[in-house]
Subunit: 117 residues, 2 copies
DNA sequence: GATGGTGTGTACTGGTTAGTATACAGGACA
DNA sequence: TGTCCTGTATACTAACCAGTACACACCATC
């Protein structure tokens, strides 16, 4: 699960090349944690932060929240909430899509988005 | 979140009307927990059990695992795993389906099931 | 009236989560 | 040379999680 840390560090350093405001300390301050904690999280020395902290971090680093959560081995509680409301429906749907290729999933995404419901 | 407990108790008592093997003690034994713990879980005095225990309980009571997990405020880690693999795709899909009526979701379920991929 | 079943109350626990607080060493630059 | 910034090491913690262990009181019924 240290993909999370690697990703964050690389993303932050990349941003920092263009803006010194992305030092570890400044980002830590922006998202409201101790610099030592962010340091350890980036190096995978501690488990990834909580969902709330990850989402603030995603905001600060301008990356997709769901992606950063996934790298941390988590799923947004917003998505879980949707599933929890209709568990059998979403359970079957998601299990059914497990092995579908990306393009097939994407087709459904679009079908839903441009929904003719 | 005591819907979980109520549901379990009612389901168990219903089953017990036809089969005395569904006493609290016997079910607890079957799923491998202490009777006092199952008692408290049924009355909502403790938080719902872990995912693994809930799934064994669902098996013992012959109910859908996803449904019982949902009543416990959880989502199967199997489903989370599917989402975690393609977070942006599934993130958008699920968010997009949040407010769709059941029949629309069901249509997609069928579309996936009878997949013409 | 003991035995065996039922559910429940009380007390405790080891491990995990999500961090804080503080001190430290190295480099830039004035 | 001092001071300011960088990242990191060390030590600690309050709250929560997922239970266990055991004793208790209440019924049946033999």
């Amino acid at each position: 699960m240290t993909d999370f840390g690697e990703f964050v560090r690389e993303r932050r350093e990349a941003l920092r090349r263009g803006d010194p405001g992305f030092s570890l300390r400044r980002v830590a301050e922006k998202i409201g944690v101790q610099p030592s904690y962010l340091s350890k999280a980036e190096r995978g020395e501690v488990a990834p932060p909580s969902e709330a902290t990850i989402l603030r971090l995603a905001g600060a680093l301008e990356v997709d929240g769901d992606v950063l959560l996934a790298l941390a081995g988590k799923v947004s509680s917003e998505l879980k909430e949707v599933i929890r409301r209709r568990p059998q429906l979403f359970g079957e749907l998601i299990r059914g899509m497990r092995d579908l290729p990306d393009h097939a999933v994407l087709r459904l995404v679009r079908e839903v988005r441009d929904g003719d419901w």
